[in-house]
């Protein structure tokens, strides 16, 4: 999966600094958004006051406890995940260190899908990482503050959507298409739990008041656990052995790999010791896991509240032990994106148990008051739901009309205002990411992290008269009036020059609309291989022949050397089969023939992402030169 690796160190200081700056700016914008919304809300309420015809205050019945557990629990988890996404190494490291390894054992179609997403992230690491932070924090805030009604359901649907995105692209579908799937190590993926919880939260409020909902949830959860027990017990999947042919078994490997992550030493010691235990007593560990999963699964499927409660207690104890000893809490090592699957799984288990439990008497009384509901509805809900609001409500379009807006704001609940702020936070992350994705080329930050910012110049560009790849004479003066991107290339170079040529080629494609105003020029830097036939061979190799504004210039060494010198380009013959030693640089020459910028142009890791990033930097520089001669 080549696209996922930008080639940079995950703690690259330039990218980390830019990531922190982006988070700071977006954080300030989020805080400002909340302040403005709060001030507007308070001001309108204060100065306008309540008027006849305003929407009624919220008189809806309280939220079902099971739903509250899911909403608050997953709201907090989303916020924690958002905070974890703000770790410095995420911008560069997530695609190559988290997503790619997760997908490696999955089928090729999964890898292809995941590679697409990882490549998109790698090309715009700052925007992608910041988007993940704010989208998750925004969803979390929204879920926490919008406890009931449509806003809460919308928050749940957004949670479903983002949960599925994370599950598919970040977790490779929780590894369900890969061998070695195990509930202990996180299958079927933490994010799918978020999505399932979102689906449940998006259900109409009335459904939560039916005990059948709890019965269905516990039965489904029970079947799921039994299924996981079967997978865990399946012969030939190597879970029964802590060691296989002298190598750690799959569970042992997982525990041992987690124990070496950066984390508190006590926890590292604990997981390391457990890893040794699993290696020596793998059969016993797996037997306990299979039994617990099967028994608790059966308990949940049985649906008797007392039995389910016992099953929940056992599952919670076992799950928390597994969370600490096997999953190592999930979020250590600098690139942990969430607390893995155990906590969300236990939240789902708890919610299904609570949904099974009869509602408090007050709610039952509320329910009896609505006994006049149609018979059909009464058949589908043991405890009928109350209407969402006592007073009739106008639709959103009406409420957002300028004439009604002040009334809408004045009567809005604090939760509604905060939800609007949360939506703003999500957009704060999502919009820059979407805008960045509109470009196929990578962000210039990668190029800057490799070579730093360009040096500004303001002096006449040294002139030259040389021969191009087609044998025509070209001088700098003949290009006057055009912006020029100039570099120096060795046609027989095996590393940097082909990469720089690709950067120029991609810049040429980005500048296709300015082809008649911009020239991409390279000067040969090899005194031995200076014949035009080598320029043509190089152009063909790098597919530069299709660029209409590409010029590769050469001449006799006596012509070339003074030009190299004037532009400060070093050229040195090295011994023992080394290619010509030369400096990598690119110059931006304005339409007035003056040097504007010098870019240090060592292509660094030379990945598709960095090549593309340099191309963006070049194209931006050329466009600037056209705007400001």
């Amino acid at each position: 999966m080549p696209g996922m690796n930008s080639g940079l160190n995950i703690n690259d200081p330039t990218v980390v600094a830019a990531f922190k700056t982006a988070l700071l700016h977006q954080g300030l914008a989020a805080a400002l958004l909340f302040i403005v919304l709060s001030l507007a809300w308070v001001s309108v309420r204060e100065f306008r006051g309540a008027r006849p015809g305003d929407p009624a205050q919220d008189t809806r019945q309280p939220e079902a406890p099971a739903r509250r557990v899911l909403r608050v629990g997953f709201g907090l988890l989303w916020i924690l995940d958002g905070i974890l996404q703000a770790q410095p190494g995420m911008a560069v490291g997530l695609p190559s260190e988290v997503i790619k390894p997760t997908a490696q054992s999955s089928p090729s179609w999964v890898q292809h899908l995941v590679n697409w997403a990882g490549t998109s992230w790698s090309y715009h690491p700052i925007q992608a990482a910041a988007a993940a932070v704010w989208i998750q924090i925004g969803i979390g805030i929204w879920l926490l503050l919008a406890s009931r009604g449509r806003l809460s359901q919308y928050a749940a649907l957004v949670s479903v959507g983002w949960g599925l995105v994370v599950w598919a692209f970040g977790e490779s579908f929780g590894g369900i298409f890969a061998p070695g799937l195990s509930w202990l190590t996180g299958a079927p993926g933490a994010a799918v739990c978020y999505a399932v919880a979102g689906v449940l939260l998006a259900l109409p409020a009335g459904i939560w008041r039916s005990s059948r909902t709890g019965a269905l949830m516990t039965r489904c959860f029970g079947v799921f656990l039994v299924g996981m027990a079967v997978l865990q017990a399946w012969p030939g999947r190597a879970f029964w052995q802590g060691e296989v042919h002298g190598q750690p078994g799959s569970l042992t490997s997982m525990v041992q790999s987690m124990s070496v992550l950066s984390q508190p030493s006590a926890l590292a010691d604990l997981t390391s010791a457990f890893g040794s235990f699993v290696r020596s007593d793998g059969f016993a560990v797996n037997l306990i896991a299979v039994l617990v999963l099967a028994v608790t699964g059966a308990a949940f499927a049985y649906r008797n509240p007392r039995v389910v409660r016992i099953g929940l207690i056992v599952l919670t104890v076992f799950g928390l032990a597994n969370w600490v000893l096997v999953q190592d809490m999930g979020f250590f090592g600098g690139l942990g994106t969430d607390p893995n699957s155990m906590i969300p799984m236990l939240l789902l288990a708890t919610a299904s148990y609570l949904a099974l439990t009869p509602l408090p008497a007050a709610d039952a009384q509320d329910a009896s008051e609505s006994a006049a509901k149609p018979a059909q509805e009464a058949q589908t809900a043991e405890i009928p739901a109350l209407p969402e609001a006592v007073a009739p409500r106008s639709n959103w379009r009406e409420r957002l009309k300028p004439a009604n807006l002040s009334g809408t704001v004045a009567t809005a609940s604090l939760a509604s205002v905060a939800s609007a702020g949360a939506i703003g936070v999500i957009l704060l992350g999502a919009v820059p990411m979407a805008a960045a994705q509109a470009s196929d080329a990578a962000a210039p930050i990668l190029a800057q992290s490799v070579d730093g910012s360009s040096a500004l110049m303001n002096s006449p560009a040294p002139g030259f008269t040389l021969t191009d790849q087609d044998g025509r004479t070209v001088s700098l003066a003949s290009l006057h009036g055009k912006a020029i991107l100039l570099t120096f290339l060795d046609p027989v170079c095996v590393t940097d020059c082909p990469l720089i040529a690709q950067e120029f080629r991609q810049a040429g494609l980005l500048l296709a609309g300015h082809a008649s105003q911009v020239e991409l020029v390279a000067v040969n830097i090899n005194p031995l291989y200076s014949d035009v036939s080598y320029l043509r061979a190089f152009d063909q190799q790098e597919r530069l022949t299709s660029l209409p504004n590409w010029l590769y210039l050469t001449g006799a060494p006596a012509q070339l050397r003074p030009i190299w010198k004037k532009y400060g380009i070093a050229s040195e013959t090295l011994p023992a089969g080394s290619m010509l030693g030369h400096s990598d640089a690119a110059f931006v020459i304005g339409t007035n023939g003056r040097l504007r910028q010098e870019l240090d142009f060592d292509p660094g890791p030379g990945t598709a992402a960095t090549v593309s990033s340099f191309a963006t930097e070049l194209a931006n520089a050329a466009e600037q030169a056209l705007k400001q001669p």
């Binding site: 070695g180 399946w234 095996v494 590393t495 291989y529 200076s530 080598y534 089969g577 290619m579």
Partner: protein, 386 residues
């Protein structure tokens, strides 16, 4: 509610089933192949004229950007090999050699890293000065991917795509002569069941020769250009080899004609035969020498038709010419890259390379052991190719 409940259970069941379907047995270790295929012949080689002997060996790392192939020269009258790698070109790919009359050489550097074509360098003064020849298509990974007429005015190249092209050294263009596919489809190619091209050479009269592996038993795939077509020019092999496939490992020019190194059979039945072709087209075959289950590691040719092979097991053999007999050589000291060399003096050298050091060995008078006579430290610029 009951219906949706069942759907929910069904959906979850499908999920669990999917999980199970996706979980397969951990792959078992691959079963080792019963018949390990012989290692590919190294591109380390040497070639000699009356005035100079050239050798190329892999140095530095054994692969990747820190593997740098080095060219060494031993001039007539000297006993000291010297480093003579062409300048201003990265030799991460092995240079293909085409010896010229006198102390001249044409070297085409095979593609490596991001370089996909083959720069060509030429010297006529024993490496004192180099000039660039026309860039060749990416040369094939066989020792004889480049050939030149003795005067160096014409070149032949075998590309990694199986295309044979020629160029005048003063030209900048290569003209296609034949492709592996078109030659295989010709009458001569069909007669041999040509499966791959392995070498190009010029006959002394300037006729282009092409060699390849034949799929039909007992046929040797050597072809000569005749007008605009190709005719079979290979030796007629003894009837004893009629049931064995024949590979042409090398095809080079010598001062008296062309020399081919043929391999018949495989495994423990593999044997080598050298064939000498006079300009009249007449072939003389050497006796066969068995490989004793080993494989050819590198090869060397002298000026007057002498040939030598170094095997993967370290042992070697040489033959002085059409009238000679195979002479077994003692095992060459272990090294990451090695070749034999046959200078015009008649003395056999062994060149071994490890990391940045070349060691030159000579046979003692009895021909029973190698004696170290020279060591050359090569200033490899590690990291200079990325």
């Amino acid at each position: 509610m009951r219906v949706s409940g069942k759907i929910g259970v069904l959906a979850l069941g499908v999920l669990v089933l999917c999980a199970g379907c996706g979980s397969t047995r951990a792959p078992s270790p691959a079963i080792a192949s019963r018949t390990a295929s012989p290692p590919a012949m190294s591109l380390a080689e040497s070639t000699a004229t009356s005035q100079a002997t050239w050798a190329v060996l892999s140095m530095g790392a054994q692969s990747g950007p820190n593997e740098f192939w080095q060219l060494f020269l031993l001039t007539a009258g000297s006993r000291q090999w010297k480093l003579d790698t062409p300048p201003d070109i990265a030799t991460n790919g092995a240079p293909a050699l085409a010896g010229l009359a006198g102390p001249g050489l044409i070297a085409g550097v095979r593609p490596s890293l991001y370089l996909s074509y083959s720069p060509v360098s030429r010297t006529s003064d024993g490496g004192k000065t180099w000039t660039a020849g026309p860039p060749a298509p990416g040369l094939a990974s066989v020792p004889d991917a480049l050939a030149a007429t003795p005067g160096g005015s014409q070149m032949l190249a075998l590309s990694k795509t199986g295309r044979v092209a020629s160029s005048a050294v003063t030209s900048s263009e290569w003209r296609g002569l034949v492709t592996e596919r078109s030659l295989a489809a010709s009458a001569a190619g069909r007669a041999c069941g040509l499966t791959a091209l392995t070498a190009v050479a010029y006959a002394p009269a300037g006729t282009p020769l092409v060699a390849g592996d034949c799929g039909k038993a007992g046929a040797a795939g050597i072809f000569a250009r005749s007008g605009s077509s190709w005719r079979s020019a290979g030796p007629v092999l003894p009837a004893a080899w009629s049931g064995q496939e024949v590979r042409v490992l090398r095809l080079v020019a010598s001062s008296s004609g062309s020399v081919a190194l043929l391999q018949t059979g495989t495994g423990s039945a593999a044997r080598l035969v050298v064939g000498w072709r006079a300009d009249s087209g007449q072939w003389t075959l050497s006796p066969a020498v068995g490989l004793a289950g080993s494989a050819v590691r590198s090869t060397a040719f002298g000026d007057a038709g002498a040939a030598a092979v170094l095997l993967a097991n370290g042992r070697g053999a040489m033959i002085a010419g059409p009238s000679g007999a195979w002479r077994q050589l003692p095992a060459v000291p272990a090294a990451s890259s090695a070749t034999l060399a046959l200078p015009a003096s008649g003395q056999a050298d062994a060149l071994t390379a490890a990391a940045g050091t070349l060691t030159v060995w000579q046979l003692n008078r009895a021909g029973a052991a190698w004696t170290r006579v020279q060591s050359v430290k090569v200033p490899i610029q590690y990291g200079s190719s990325g």
